[in-house]
């Protein structure tokens, strides 16, 4: 079990290194002198020369890469043009919102997607099942930002129940009650993902219910509900868990748009703003952090999968 974890960690590390090369190359692929890309269009020639030397941009590319990696490992992700602050602290400022949003969303997704998928599977073929499956497919076809805008229209503008934008920190005045700012965004973000998890749970349970060992369980005289929970669901869970990593990635992507719609001060919105403001070092830093996070999540999912399914071995 641990050797498996070690092997997966090794594979993840290699992928991370390769990804870091791409992220590093990003700045250099943007059209224009990388110095201006880094300093912004308003830099003076003197500043440019000074920076060129300090940043070691007169060095060969390979050396620059290792310098960058070295700096990153020390926590120095560079300097934001727009905020005029170290990028790491900019990211940290925006992290709270995104972490909370992601967590709450995942809770909705699992709380809604899994049980409803289970119900649809156990009532396979009925109107309920067909209706739920159709609804799930519909939800997966809807653009997140459209749902978001409608949420704002209905719940914020017309009904006035909930705020439509922004998010004061939990540490500010209001405390936990400030979470209500995240209610609409998290529901918006949860909708398509819950639909996906619903369909996955349902399909997985249907597949498992056709397997021979379920017939054996029935033959043993076990009551139908226990067959569903202990044999079908337990085995179907594998497929759902392995989709976790993928769901997380989808969540990050869609969070970018959702945070923009609801004007949440999160990392997703930071990315979009940085693109529009040409704050390229920030984009680079954020993408690096996100990729690391994503790879770690995938790694954890892989290892836990091994824990859940004793048959798994590294291919």
């Amino acid at each position: 079990m641990w050797s498996y974890a070690l092997k997966r960690a090794g594979a993840t590390a290699i992928t991370l290194v390769a990804a870091s090369v791409i992220i590093f190359a990003f700045i250099h692929l943007i059209p224009g002198d990388p110095i201006y890309v880094r300093l912004g269009d308003t830099a003076t020639p003197d500043q440019v020369e000074a920076v060129r030397h300090t940043l070691g941009l007169d060095q060969p590319i390979l050396v620059q890469y290792f310098q960058w990696v070295g700096a990153v490992l020390h926590g120095d992700l560079g300097h934001s043009i727009f905020y005029d602050e170290p990028i790491l602290s900019v990211i940290a400022d925006h992290a709270e919102t995104s972490v909370l949003l992601a967590t709450i969303t995942m809770i909705w997704v699992l709380l809604i997607g899994v049980p409803v998928g289970m119900i649809a599977a156990t009532r396979h073929g009925s109107w309920l099942d067909q209706g739920l499956s159709g609804l799930a497919m519909l939800m997966a076809s809807v653009p997140t930002f459209w749902v978001g805008l409608y949420m704002i229209l209905i719940f914020a503008a017309w009904l006035g129940w909930l705020p439509s934008s922004g998010f004061p920190s939990l540490f500010d005045r209001g405390g936990i009650a400030n979470l209500r700012y995240l209610l609409l965004p998290s529901l918006t973000l949860a909708a398509p993902n819950a639909a996906l998890i619903l369909r996955l749970t349902r399909a997985s349970m249907l597949d498992v219910s056709r397997e021979d060992h379920v017939r054996t369980a029935r033959a043993k005289g076990i009551r139908p509900w226990r067959v569903v929970t202990h044999h079908i669901f337990r085995n179907a869970l594998l497929a759902v868990v392995s989709a976790f990593g993928f769901t997380f990635a989808a969540l990050i992507s869609e969070a970018v748009v959702t945070e923009t719609v609801f004007a949440l001060p999160g990392i997703g919105r930071l990315v979009v703003q940085s693109i529009l403001q040409r704050d390229y070092p920030v984009i680079q830093g954020v993408v690096l952090v996100i990729v690391v996070l994503y790879l770690v999540v995938n790694f954890l999912v892989d290892v836990s999968y091994r824990f859940l399914d004793p048959r798994v071995e590294l291919q």
Partner: protein, 324 residues
């Protein structure tokens, strides 16, 4: 003690059902092993599932007939319903030991689960009972195997585990659907021996389904031959092998290669069995029967007594000794 009377299983719409098992009747006494033989598609598995109450929903259903175990009518009841009703203890083992066990749960847990259906014991007692069951089926290192996962065991061991789980209920009836087909010949021999021993020791009625005449010869006390959804001959094993009365049974015996004679060309039965569900007029075997006459194609054959407890579904049952 099992008694199956006029069991008919059909598929298709209610208005126009298609029979895949027609009017099947047989009985098994405690300690007796009945071999149900026939080629693929003849309906033997469907019969066993119907007897057990495991017909898949939606799909085939029991259209008529009765299944009684020790006098209790359990027709159409699913296994859990039978347990609830407190009637009839029965168990079933299947063909593919690879896939018939839950791959993500330990053997011990799966056996314990079977035990708990019938007895509410605390954890240690249940585990002890599971170990006893493993020993009953001759699995070495029972304690170790309780914590093992199915994929860590060989095919033969897995089948023994299946049998152990089946015995958890102290069943009056054991149904075995081709349990050795997927195993090596040497392992097959051991499992068959185990089944014979258990059947006698526990006074269990056993319904053993197979397409292999050789297995039937080794194991069964009595034999029922199935063709196209009907039982065409029932007899004791010795009687069946010595004077098979139905032309189909005869043909099957003739197909078996004779030991010791080189260069025999293998015989086959010309033609093909009718597809499950084709509407038949007259005898189902008539198109392939060497003795068929006009009447065979027009009238359904009667069930005739051809000996002591020996019946054949034929207008002109064959008399005389078998060829080999």
């Amino acid at each position: 003690m099992l008694s199956v009377s006029n069991l008919t299983v059909s598929i298709g719409p209610q208005a126009r059902p298609v029979d895949i098992v027609s009017d099947v009747s047989f009985s098994i006494a405690p300690g007796e092993i009945l071999g149900l033989v026939g080629e693929s598609g003849c309906g033997k598995s469907m019969t066993s599932l119907a007897v057990m109450g495991l017909l898949p929903h939606p799909g085939p259903r029991i259209r008529s007939g009765r299944v009684e175990i020790d006098g209790a009518d359990v027709t159409g009841l699913e296994p859990w319903q039978r347990v609830e009703a407190g009637r009839a203890r029965m168990a079933m083992i299947f063909q593919e030991p690879m896939t018939s066990l839950n791959p993500v749960r330990r053997i011990g847990d799966q056996i314990a689960e079977a035990v708990r259906v019938y007895e509410r014991l605390h954890a240690a007692a249940t585990r002890e009972r599971a170990r006893e069951l493993l020993e009953l089926v001759r699995i070495p290192d029972a304690d170790l195997q309780l914590s093992a996962y199915p994929h860590q065991l060989s095919g033969g061991m897995r089948q023994r585990v299946m049998i152990a789980m089946a015995l958890a209920s102290r069943p009056q009836l054991l149904i075995a659907d081709e349990p050795t087909t997927a195993l090596d010949v040497t392992v097959q021999y051991q499992i068959l021996g185990l089944l014979r021993e258990l059947s006698a020791r526990l006074s269990m009625a056993t319904l053993f389904i197979t397409h292999d005449m050789g297995v039937v010869a080794q194991l069964a006390d009595r034999v029922a031959v199935m063709y196209a959804g009907c039982i065409v001959e029932t007899a004791s094993a010795s009687a069946l092998f010595r004077h098979p009365a139905h032309p189909y049974t005869r043909a099957l015996m003739d197909c078996m290669p004779v030991r010791g004679i080189r260069g025999q060309s293998l015989r086959t039965i010309p033609g093909q069995a009718p597809q499950p569900g084709t509407i038949l007029v007259g005898c189902a075997f008539a198109p392939r029967c060497p003795n068929a006459r006009e009447i065979c194609r027009t009238t359904a054959p009667p069930r005739l007594d051809v000996g002591i407890s020996h019946e054949a579904l034929c207008v002109f049952p064959v008399t005389g000794e078998a060829a080999a």
